[in-house]
Amino acid sequence: MRSILNKIEFYLPTNILSNNQLAKEFPDWNSSNFEKKVGIINRHIVDTNETALDLAIGASQKLLTRFDKKEIDYVILCTQSPDYHLPTTACILQDKLGLRKDIGAFDFNLGCSGYIYGLSICKGLLSAGIAANILFVVSETYSKYIHKEDRSNRSIFGDGAAATIISNEDVNSIGNFVLGTDGSGFDKLIVKNGGLRSKCGIDNSEYSYGTNNITSNDHLYMDGPEIFNFTIETIPKLVADTLYKNNQSLDEIDFFVFHQANKYMLNFLRKRIGIAKEKFCINFENSGNTVSATIPIAIKNLQAQSKIKKGDKLMLVGFGVGLSYGALILDI
């Protein structure tokens, strides 16, 4: 049986935005302090003409060099920065990759919890016999939403995509899920304008928030402190519930891969939950917070660094925009 580990690939756009470059734009910014506390040195940023579809193609093509694309019978794509309001990006991806036509394809809209939710959908489709080999892609270009003078978000978020093939043979290695939602926090991480409730250009005056960041309703806004409070209140319980639902103890998990958001926040959660440092992933210094792609990117990096291996038991934990969260245990 092939491990899921061998069926993940990621793709990052060529352009790199380093802390040094950002520091030139924001001379008052303490980039070494940021690097030490948040844990990011570089992030990759798409070109003006490069989109989530392009990144999705890049990640999928890497994977399809060693997997017969005729076997793919479902495409699921998670993005919050789609090429069009409609159609769904996954349909275009089917054509661009030359996949069969007698297959299902759709997008779903989630952010930092997206990889977890995608795996839950895949498990459902596979268990029900609706699909046998699913191409599940996460692709995000938040940079297109971020105001040029929003130093906080520009320093945190990077663009990227990851593709995973989930097959019948993997169903038993995908454990039980615990999922959660708190829509009362919908405006804590939001691009207010551009949908149909409020179109771009209407009420888009610039305003300042946090440490002298500029944004507008046409751009991304994140209430970092409130997101932090949300994770403090939610994630320790989520981890405990996931262990319980899978009849596992903390010690039985070989590695914990949380959504890679912010090193300070992750370490706070790690200590509160009681996870050993050696079993906890902080691995995003060269890609930043790539939203739904951080977890698969981290898994690939951990594999490349021989920190995880076939036979290991991972706990994957996603949380963020929505507010939405979820976790599962994955045997790799």
Binding site: N30, N33, F34, K37, V38, S152, G210, T211, D223, G224, P225, E226, F228, N229, I232, E233, N262, Y264, M265, F268, R272
Partner: protein, 77 residues
Amino acid sequence: MKIEEFIDLFVEELEIEDIEVTQDTELSSLAEWDSMAVLAVIAIASENFNVKITAMQLKDVKLLKDIINLIGAEQFE
């Protein structure tokens, strides 16, 4: 916890050097008072006092003692 211990914790978490910090220190006067420092204050309040401090509350703080008041004077010896 004594107020002095809290101030020491604050100084340590924010890695403030070469400046004497008191209850009356203006937060905006500290080079270390940034968005990460806000997270550190939320973490200190949660970890040591089991108190949740919201972003909205932190918008109005000016002096270190405003944070002490947010945590609650009764929490200190």
